[in-house]
């Protein structure tokens, strides 16, 4: 028998009250854990996905939407831009590199992105399983896509029009998997990558089949199917073409000042800075985050109060017990330790449960949103900041039990025992 064991026995002697307090505390801490994890990983992810991209250029519309659709592949694209305009912009001396993107299709909710090898290079992604696409309709799958769909190198599938599941299929021509990327832990994991030509031809085909095309034009198309695709820069085309957006990196800091203004005022396109737009997004989300934080603090406060009341009430019933312990030779300090230990035991259980609940909740969130932005978040990654959650919990336990402990310290044993 020792003090820790005795504290534990007292806690388990009142299972309902103890359980309720642990649960309440755990709930508050779980919210804090989730916020902490999401905030940390989300911000890291957001920066990682936008690494090397200074500016996104696309059709006019919402700049935030442009960023979300072209970098993070979550929102709908703003529209298309003429490739001619894009090529002109790429020649500007302030532009160091451009990566064109053509969006618009999906496979089981995973977006099909028409681009070139530069896009992969900008994320330092290499294909170890299979090879990169070389002809139209050849695709490379992101790691997550391959895992979720079960597709392997050599398999074929039909894309669907639009960027969300449930649209009609492009069943005229199948995509063929030539390679699968390793896990990148960025946005590439959730993408189906191919050439811009693939995206064009998919949609050409639709137009031709819809408007009862002549055999001449369809044989022309089939010739195009065999031509190797552009590996960098813009693809060749014999007619005016459109792309969805351009990812631009600046040649020098001056570009950050001149380029956006030039694009927005002198072209039919708009430019958006990922850093600026994401900062704006976080500012918008900030209200919700503060609200949740406030809620967590209120719950923590209430659970602290609950623990205090439980300890204080049990102390009233336990004054005899404490007096008996003193009569058996326990010192005042030992009684203080006993009560403090009870509060601390209770709250450390709450802390571990809370951290566990938080991670579990995040896991649930991730597994129910496989194609969205949260899917790249690791539910079971632990942060050093979680140590603070434990510290908070212990602080709550300490504060809640200090007054009862002091009361125990002052209890006069003789009076308690003789007031039978």
């Amino acid at each position: 028998m020792n003090l820790v064991k005795l504290s534990w026995k007292y806690l388990t002697f009142r299972p309902l009250s103890t359980g309720l307090n642990i649960l309440l505390l755990a709930l508050g801490l779980a919210i804090m854990t989730v916020l902490l994890l999401i905030q940390d990983q989300f911000e890291k992810k957001v920066t990682k996905d936008a690494a090397g991209i200074d500016l996104v250029v696309g059709a006019k519309g919402s700049p935030l939407q442009l960023i979300l659709s072209s970098i993070y592949h979550v929102d709908f694209p703003t529209g298309n831009i003429p490739m001619e305009e894009a090529e002109k912009l790429a020649k500007n001396r302030l532009v160091k590199g451009v990566i064109p993107l053509a969006l618009g299709d999906n496979y089981k909710g995973f977006r099909i992105v028409g681009t070139n090898y530069d896009y992969l290079k900008s994320y330092q992604a290499v294909v170890t399983n299979g090879v990169l696409w070389e002809k139209p309709f050849e695709v490379v799958l992101g790691y997550e896509v391959a895992v979720q769909t079960g597709l392997k190198v050599g398999d074929e599938f039909a894309g669907s029009h639009g960027i969300s599941v449930g649209s009609h299929d492009h069943d005229e021509h199948n995509f063929k998997v030539t390679g699968i990327l390793d896990q990148q832990e960025n946005v590439l994991d959730r993408l189906v990558l191919t050439s811009i030509e693939s995206v064009w031809l998919t949609h050409d085909e639709q137009v031709t089949s819809d408007s009862t095309a002549t055999t001449e034009s369809s044989s022309h198309d089939h010739e195009a199917f065999q031509k190797p695709v552009a590996q960098t820069g813009f693809p060749d085309s014999d007619r005016p073409r459109e792309i969805t957006s351009l990812l631009i990196s600046y040649r020098n800091p001056m570009a950050a000042i001149q380029l956006p203004r030039m694009i927005n005022s002198k072209t039919v396109m708009q430019s958006a800075s990922p850093a600026f737009e994401m900062a704006r997004l976080f500012e918008l989300l900030g209200v919700g985050v503060s609200l949740l934080k406030g809620l967590a603090i209120v719950i923590l406060g209430i659970s602290g109060l609950g623990i205090f009341i439980a300890l204080y009430n049990s102390l009233k019933e336990r004054k005899y017990d404490l007096a008996i312990l003193r009569a058996l030779g326990a010192t005042r300090i030992q009684l203080v330790i006993l009560i403090l230990m009870e509060g601390l035991l209770l709250t450390s259980f709450g802390a571990f449960l809370g951290i566990g609940l938080g991670h579990g909740f995040l896991q649930l969130l991730i597994s129910s949103n496989e194609q969205s932005m949260v899917s790249g978040i690791q539910a079971w990654a632990f942060l050093p900041e979680e140590g603070w959650i434990l510290a908070y919990a212990l602080l709550v336990g300490f504060l809640a039990s200090i007054i009862p402990a002091w009361t125990a310290y002052k209890t006069s044993i003789a009076q308690q025992l003789t007031r039978a």
């Binding site: 028998m1 020792n2 005795l6 026995k9 007292y10 388990t12 002697f13 005899y320 017990d321 007096a323 008996i324 312990l325 003193r326 009569a327 058996l328 030779g329 326990a330 010192t331 005042r332 300090i333 030992q334 044993i413 003789a414 025992l417 003789t418 039978a420």
Partner: protein, 210 residues
Amino acid sequence: MLLHTSNLKFTHPGQPTLSFPDIKLDSKEAIVVLGQSGSGKTTLLNLLAGLMKPQSGEVLLDGTDLSTLSSQQMDQFRGGEIGIVFQKPHLISAISVLENLELANYFSKKKGQNLMTLLTELGIAQKANASVLTLSEGEAQRVSIARALVNNPKLILADEPTSSLDDEHASAVVELLKSQAEKIGAGLVIVTHDQRVKAHFSKFIEVTAA
């Protein structure tokens, strides 16, 4: 001489000063302190147990003057050398019978008697792992006596141990206290207003309110 008190006086706030007759007690000897309710006999017990400090006078237990001990030393000393049987059993209900006894060992830092042997002797061995809440009143009292004995104390103090018992049980409890105290060589002080107890002992003093 195991226990020797001299000129003990104590004043409860707002009440007349109580002065107690001197007590002299040897090991294996027993004494009954008789007195009516409010005569201060429980106060005397608290003074002997070092739970309260006397206004004047001294308590010598086995050569140790209790008033010279610090509060912490007193707690330690009481845990090891004084066994107290309270009027009500006051067992810790969150833990089992055996754990209640272990607790006395833990706080006094003494090894003491073999707990199961002691429980067997008092006829409650079968309840060793039972919750305190399942005990009958008689069983609970025997456990509280066992708790007073576990550390082989030099002095056993009993406060009204028979007040709620019928003649038969009262006599059994008194005999149990007497035989156990003798067995471990401890002095026994029983404080009571119960005249039935007197018959079991040759030595007694009376406390009267001044």
